[in-house]
């Protein structure tokens, strides 16, 4: 490796700058006072935090953040639990029935759940699942299962079946076998599943906006969109709100970016 920086490094810097511009504009917009009409390209020459304080209060972002955490964590746990146990028979017992069941699960990957919005909304009203944590959690779990089952089934199939047999020979029951032996081996798949599904659930807007309409149960994106339509003219507030809403997941990403990039692309490459 040469010590000098060549044109390639120069090009890389340019690419980075181009991709950072939107974040820079978000940054300058959110720190500017409401009567500051200077160009968005100019950084404010002063320190001003009112936008953040107001956005936090008006959009109830604190509450929304709690809701996000609660919904994402509960859904994540259920997804790993239901997805992993469902994939076990699907990868170990390949009967005609199980192949069909597997195809049913996986075919849902292609079709976006948004297409059944109208009847789903009606159904959720009927069963009292509107504005309920359990309602949105069950929806997220259901719509995340195709990808989860797809990943787990592929992964379990790559673990030699002799391992199961050896354990059973030693007298381990199926469930013991599953939790003591297979689940620990599934850790990489589990990490992928968690990252893939939880990023989607955390960022979700298209479902949350329909099923979480009461202010006290809104998630970040829903709170932010309500806030945006209300204070359309006050760009500073909206920018500060978006800024705060993007921070948690960006920080997690920067610390765990290796796993994120591996996980998110693993979900794709195994297609």
């Amino acid at each position: 490796m040469k010590n000098r920086l060549g044109w390639k490094e120069g090009a890389a810097v340019v690419f980075c700058l181009i991709h950072i511009i939107p974040f820079y504009i978000l940054f300058t917009s959110s720190f500017k006072a409401i009567d500051d009409f200077s160009s968005k390209w100019m950084a404010p020459g002063y320190f001003y935090l009112d936008n953040f304080v107001n956005a936090w209060k008006e959009a109830q972002l604190g509450r929304a953040l709690m809701n996000n955490v609660l919904i994402t964590v509960c859904a994540g746990i259920l997804i790993v639990l239901l997805g992993s146990i469902a994939s076990y028979p699907l990868s170990r017992r390949k009967t005609a029935l199980n192949r069909t069941v597997y195809s049913i699960f996986v075919s849902a990957l292609i079709v976006p759940p948004l297409t059944i919005l109208v009847p789903l909304y009606k159904f959720m009203v009927e069963i009292g699942g509107m504005n309920q944590y359990w309602g949105i959690i069950l929806l997220h779990v259901t719509f995340s299962l195709p990808m989860t089952i797809f990943l787990y089934t592929g992964f379990i199939s790559s673990i030699p079946q002799e391992l199961d047999e050896a354990a059973m020979m030693d007298g381990a029951g199926r469930f013991v076998l599953f939790y003591k032996i297979l689940l620990p081996l599934l850790k990489p798949a589990t990490a992928t599943v968690i990252i893939l599904t939880c990023v989607n659930i955390w960022n979700d807007y298209q479902f949350s906006v329909f099923f979480l309409q009461k202010p006290e149960i809104r998630t970040i994106t829903v709170a932010l969109s309500g806030f945006f339509s209300q204070y359309n003219n006050n760009i500073g507030w909206v920018a500060a709100g978006s800024f705060m809403a993007a921070i948690p997941i960006t920080l997690v990403y920067l610390f765990l970016q290796r796993y994120f990039i591996q996980g998110l692309s693993a979900g794709a490459v195994k297609g």
């Binding site: 490796m1 090009a11 890389a12 690419f15 980075c16 991709h19 939107p22 974040f23 504009i25 978000l26 160009s39 390209w41 239901l82 146990i85 469902a86 994939s87 028979p89 990868s91 017992r93 390949k94 009967t95 029935l97 069941v101 049913i104 292609i110 759940p113 948004l114 297409t115 059944i116 919005l117 109208v118 009847p119 009606k122 069950l138 259901t142 299962l145 592929g154 992964f155 199939s157 790559s158 199961d164 047999e165 960022n203 807007y205 298209q206 994106t221 932010l224 945006f228 978006s242 809403a245 993007a246 997941i249 990403y253 970016q257 994120f260 998110l264 692309s265 794709a268 490459v269 195994k270």
Partner: protein
């Protein structure tokens, strides 16, 4: 991808597979599917034959009227066109740019990791928030683009308010946000191409372009398939970015099938028709993604 093949190997033992009761393990997942996908899907077909308004108890049977309306609706052809631009346009752009970045970053470059991290970053942010961020760019009053335009012209340009233009701006935003995923898929694909192929080609005097054409491109085919199919599906169902940037306006000028359905249902209480639009969207998305998938899969096997 290797483990997929292994699943078809002959079973070494019958004893394990004879215990059918372990199938109960997928019953909970299947139950959720039946309750939250199949049942609503079935109901949706019913609703689409009625004039249900979205909240009352009553509705009248209309037969195929809602589907006939689809063909006469003055907005629908433009909405379908937009949906195609969002789906196919951004898939094309994401893959071209993603591939270019992947080829670039697949070399010895300092700050390779940093560049990859930054290009990928938008993909983990909520598309709604990404829409707002770009709204600050393209907005009419005080948008970042118009700040530059005003240096050269007298009047700002109304980018988000111009039908036709705004559709491509939204496509651009979707591309910007998710091209990192295409890049990472291609980077992973490039890693598995054996280096000796290139060495051998070099000895034979093959140029960079012909090396790309005869080695990289054919061997990257599986990655291309996955990346394109993913992006097509993602683009066809685009919703958040449109809502954030134009709210499908002006009128329905930048609407996609998903935002149209939303507005029919919640804005115009036209639930029966909205359900029909949902079913149309279901058909369009599954047909297109399956067609793209099969076409690209066939291309993978054919020698080029």
């Amino acid at each position: 991808m290797s483990h997929v093949k292994k699943t078809f190997q002959p079973r070494s033992s019958r004893s394990l597979s004879s215990s059918a009761w372990i199938n109960v393990l997928y019953v909970p997942a299947l139950l959720l599917f039946v309750v939250f996908i199949f049942y609503p899907f079935y109901k949706g077909i019913q609703v689409s034959f009625t004039n249900w308004d979205g909240y009352s108890q009553e509705s009248k049977w209309l037969g195929l009227d809602n589907y006939r309306r689809l063909f006469t609706d003055p907005d629908i052809s433009n909405v379908i066109k937009n949906t195609f631009i969002y789906g196919l346009g951004s898939a094309l752009l994401q893959n071209i740019i993603g591939l270019a970045y992947a080829l670039f970053l697949n070399q010895h470059i300092k700050m390779k990791g940093l560049t990859r991290t930054i290009i990928y970053m938008p993909a983990i942010i909520s598309p709604l928030i990404m829409g707002y961020i770009w709204y600050f760019f393209f907005q009419y009053n005080g948008g970042a683009i118009n700040d530059i335009v005003l240096l050269f012209a007298k009047d700002p340009v109304n980018l988000l308010g111009s039908p036709g233009v705004n559709v491509w701006i939204i496509t651009f935003v979707n591309t910007y946000q998710y091209l990192g995923i295409a890049m990472v898929i291609f980077l992973a694909g490039l890693q598995v191409i054996p280096k000796d192929y290139y060495e051998a080609a070099k000895i034979d005097g093959a140029h960079a372009f012909s090396r790309f054409q005869h080695i990289t491109w054919p061997l990257l085919a599986p990655a291309v398939t996955i990346s394109i199919v993913l992006n097509v599906i993602g683009g066809l169902k685009l919703f958040d970015v449109i809502t954030a940037m134009t709210n499908s306006g002006p009128g329905y000028a930048s609407a996609s099938l998903s935002t149209l359905m939303y507005q029919l249902y919640f804005g115009r209480q036209d639930a029966g028709y909205a359900a029909a639009v949902g079913n149309l969207m279901f058909v369009i998305i599954s047909v297109i993604s399956l067609a793209v998938l099969f076409y690209l899969r066939r291309r993978e096997v054919e020698p080029s």
